[in-house]
């Protein structure tokens, strides 16, 4: 019998769904609260076959994954996939290098350079995002130079070092929604529209989930984006633009509490299936 570990910090609805699904299938699951664990390679003994990383903290999750990989335990997602997805600049670079449509973007470290970047992107409005971050937090739609100056000054004075790296993205006008597609090992298993009258459509910010039919075009761009970051379990966020679908961001520890019901797809079951498959490979 294959057994799994779930690396977690705060237990969310998603972890409960995964635990319920594992219980239904009789899959033994060891819960590892990474905040109370000591990751000492001379002491730690892995009494499970594969691990699923579900930490709400990106930094702590990264270290836990690196530790397990280095003692020979397969982890979903891998440290490589995590690195490629958790930093929006890295994701954008990989998408661009692989010819996958995405909004134009630039990185700058100072106000003058940021303004140059905005001009090169086609002018205002733009979106300024922290390279590391989630749930639509600290995103700023910047409409003019005065607002850009004020935002960047606040970041310079009040921000942590990562906040002082200005990831600037072309603003894409959306039809009151974006798309989130769920992928397992390169295959798109389902997708939702996230509908909101606000330009930020994250469900964590009030966006409403509705089923999005899978089209060949959606499957194709998602499959290519997945390959660009290393595959695994992914949630890909896309914009519908006048020029077609654009990949905005890719999430490697996705939340799906609002997506199983509208899509009718057992996402937690698909996640467990993938973990079992990875465990069998070793």
């Amino acid at each position: 019998m294959i057994s799994l570990a779930i690396l977690h910090s705060t237990i969310r609805k998603e972890e409960k769904l995964l635990l319920d699904e594992a219980a239904r299938r009789g899959i033994p699951v060891k819960l590892i609260d990474i905040r109370s664990q000591v990751f000492d390679p001379t002491v730690f003994r892995a009494d499970f076959d594969a691990a699923l990383e579900r930490s709400v903290s990106t930094v702590k999750g990264d270290y836990a994954v690196l530790f397990l990989e280095n003692i020979g335990v397969p982890v979903v997602n891998s440290s490589t996939v995590a690195r490629n997805c958790e930093d929006k600049f890295v994701t954008s670079l990989l998408l661009g290098r692989n010819g996958i449509p995405c909004p134009r973007f630039a990185m700058a470290f100072g106000p003058e350079q940021a303004l140059q970047a905005v001009e090169a992107l086609g002018g205002f409005p733009v979106v300024v995002k922290p390279p590391l971050g989630s749930w639509g937090r600290l995103l700023a739609k910047v409409n003019d130079e005065d607002a850009l100056d004020a935002l960047l000054e606040h970041k310079e004075v009040l921000g942590t070092p990562p906040q002082k790296a200005f990831y600037i993205q072309q603003f894409i006008r959306k039809p009151g929604r974006d798309i989130r597609a769920f992928l397992v090992d390169g295959e798109t298993i389902c997708a939702i529209y996230r509908e909101s009258s606000h330009w930020i459509t994250n469900t964590a910010r009030g966006g409403v989930a509705r089923n999005c039919p899978l089209t060949p075009g959606l499957r194709d761009i998602c499959g290519r984006a997945s390959a660009a970051v290393g595959g695994g379990l992914l949630a890909i966020d896309l914009f519908e633009s006048d020029g077609g679908l654009l990949v905005n961001e890719i999430n490697h520890t996705m939340e799906f509490r609002n997506s199983e019901e509208p899509t009718g797809v057992n996402i937690s079951g698909a996640i467990l299936d993938h973990c079992l498959k990875m465990a069998k490979k070793t």
Binding site: H8, S9, T10, I11, R12, E15, K16, L19, A22, A23, P28, V29, K30, L31, D33, V56, S57, T58, V59, P130, L132, G133, S134, W135, R137, T160, P162, Q163, A235, N251, H252, T253, M254, E255
Partner: protein, 66 residues
């Protein structure tokens, strides 16, 4: 499955407002719940044996998310 969870009939107490937190739903240790009286976010610290124990939840940190 090594999971500390339970469905309680006994009530817990909010460490912020001392209000009663009904525990009809299954609680899992480390889960975050909201106090129905003061809306404070609380962490489920302990669920086995007696009433569930709560503490104030940490503030959302910069690297939290998906």
């Amino acid at each position: 499955m090594s999971m500390q969870s339970a469905t309680h009939t006994t009530q817990g107490t909010c460490p912020v407002c001392a209000g009663c937190i009904p525990s009809s739903a299954r609680l899992v240790e480390t889960e975050i719940v909201a106090c129905p009286e003061c809306q404070s976010l609380l962490v489920v610290e302990k669920v086995n044996g007696g009433a569930p124990v709560f503490s104030e939840a940490p503030r959302i940190e910069e690297d939290w998310g998906e």
